[in-house]
Assembly symmetry: C2
Homo-oligomer: 366 residues x 2
């Protein structure tokens, strides 16, 4: 395992190598949209790469980061800009609701770009007949979440569709914020030897949503981890600066999708130790009963960080020093071969390829 | 009619006066959402003011402009930020489709804030079973519209919901752009004596959509006017600078809603001459058959401008000098009494109050 920093030319060659290996798999062969296209796994990536990225290609979009980053109007100041729609079902769940999630989701996409979340938009699609009392509750929840994250909702939109043309309401939030000057983050930034950190316990949002749907009748109180990540991300960046190479919030598609994105974009291999991931026993149990790998389960308040190896312990301390990172752990490392692949190692020395979620969909998890 | 420029204190007192008169009418009394709440008329305003503005209040949102405008990260550079969701039915219509509309709508909200549209986001909610070929066609249309308007789609999101939980697809676009240094625009900026200009023929988008739904079987070829307004807005601002007091794009709810917003926010009365509005004869005929005032019909490529009286002719020339403003006209003037009211004058000397759309909804026009 070489820890040399590779040249840009080398990095580009590796990305091309990955693309070559995956060529065709990014083409969308399906004739109709299926729920799998919304799962955050392989089908979602094929849809995004095969239709949207292919058609709308430009140098910023092509980076396929959680936020677009660009220089604002020649000021030299970098700005991050992101959007997400929320279609979570049910609208209210243990630990949150769609309003809270919609604020946190966009705050978090900005935070993992190294930005300080500042201004958000909120656009709501309402179904005819939706109770105004539920709407008031959701908007109040948005206000609370925005206040707690220090952001303001400054512009919005409301549309109404006929009964049976939505499912209560859907929310879109977009957001902007200035990128911290100490941030040098990229999904393509992982280098051989880098350590992979997670900020806390995984899989709680996904399990909480599935339990709220009563797909799983267990006597436990698992709550969504939905929370704003700007504080804990800032704590890590303040400690390590540009030695943080990559930040991701592993939402839809879970930690596995986030790691695969890093592996593909960086042209590296990633290896994680399964048992290093902090997870509640009841969450693990629920995943076992459901037959879903907790690494494929959505999180809404966790950070995956790739950091320079010599700064890993310091980074871990920075995470643990923040209330949102108490259970942080080092979970793996970056290898140089084979490019674009993620391995999960088990306690007894076994090793398996950890792919993006394939097949069985977890629809409308966020 | 006084043409004196009023003091800020006077303007604020007038706005308070309007608020007092309208107090209660902005409270949302309904227990359930109806299609009227999406019409862009009175019910939409009650929903926005009674729920969203009341709960999420902050100095930028409270201005209730088409775009939020703020200083970017202390650079002194002003930035505009806006969002809209598109739920138009049908997805394809004469003159455009939902993709084209989604790009133009956000470009236009930025343009009427005096901004140069730069970067857009695109978030799509897809219904299970939606044909991928239709999606490709819509995304290609977004690309064409973005290229023509000189903007880039730099970030996005895709979600999928079950069959029967959407209507094919819905698109949200948000957008950002730097505000031109010569722009001093506000819905509260209308002053007594100011002239009201329209950049071209009205009501074409609304009529095209209703005809595409076959709610009206006429043998005419009326196309949506969906088009980017940044060029024609820039032409006007270059000619008149800060003597352009207010710009609006009269979409959902039509010219009537745009004028009422200006009247309310400015604390002024607005009077327009009905017969001064340019309109195609077949569009007027269609409106008569439908029983809908063309001033309530949506436009997706027109500008309403309020300008200083002594610059009105110059402004008209600037509009007419741009391909998008060939049919521009002066349609009315700003009066100081009674605050918050819009009058439409007829050719024979009659006068009626031109209110926002009430009652009968025109759902999913954009």
């Amino acid at each position: 395992m070489s820890r040399d920093r590779r040249s840009l030319a080398d990095a580009l060659a590796r990305i091309e190598q990955v693309r070559e290996r995956r060529r065709g798999s990014f083409y969308l062969h399906d004739e109709h949209i299926t729920l799998s296209h919304g799962s955050g796994g392989k089908a979602t990536h094929n849809l995004i790469e095969g239709v949207f990225a292919a058609e709308l290609s430009n140098p910023i979009l092509d980076l396929m980061e959680d936020s677009a980053v660009f220089s604002f109007n020649g000021t030299g100041e970098r700005m991050a800009f992101t959007t997400d729609s929320y279609v979570v079902h049910p609208l209210f769940f243990p630990g949150g609701d769609i309003g809270r999630l919609a604020i946190h989701g966009t705050v978090n996409d900005l935070a993992v770009a190294g930005a300080t979340p500042a201004y958000l938009s909120a656009a709501v699609i309402l179904e005819e007949g939706f109770p105004v009392s539920d709407l008031r509750r959701i908007v109040a929840s948005m206000r609370e979440a925005a206040e707690a994250a220090g952001v303001a909702v400054v512009t919005g939109d409301t549309k109404v569709v006929e009964r049976g043309k939505a499912d209560g309401l859907y929310i879109n939030t977009a957001g902007v914020g200035p990128v911290r000057s100490d941030a040098a983050l990229s999904s393509a930034g992982a280098r051989p030897g880098d350590r992979i950190l997670i900020s806390g316990r995984i899989a709680e949002h996904g399990v909480a949503i599935l339990m709220a749907r009563e797909e799983l009748l267990l006597e436990t109180e698992i709550e969504s981890d939905t929370a704003p990540l700007d504080g804990v991300a800032a704590a890590l960046l303040e400690a390590l600066g540009s030695d943080v190479h990559c930040l991701k919030d592993p939402t839809r598609g879970g930690v596995a999708s986030a790691l695969n994105e890093i592996a593909i974009r960086s042209g590296m291999a990633l290896a994680v130790e399964e048992e290093n991931f902090p997870i509640r026993a009841d969450v693990r149990g629920a995943c076992e009963i459901l037959g879903i790998d907790p690494l494929h389960m959505a999180n809404e308040g966790k950070l995956v960080a790739v950091v320079a190896p010599e700064r890993a312990e310091e980074g871990l301390e920075a995470l643990r020093g923040h209330p949102m990172g108490r259970a942080a752990a080092v979970v793996g490392e970056v290898l140089d071969e084979p490019p674009g692949v993620v391995f999960a190692r088990t306690g007894i020395g076994g090793q398996r390829v950890l792919d993006m979620l394939v097949g069985d969909a977890l629809p409308r998890i966020c």
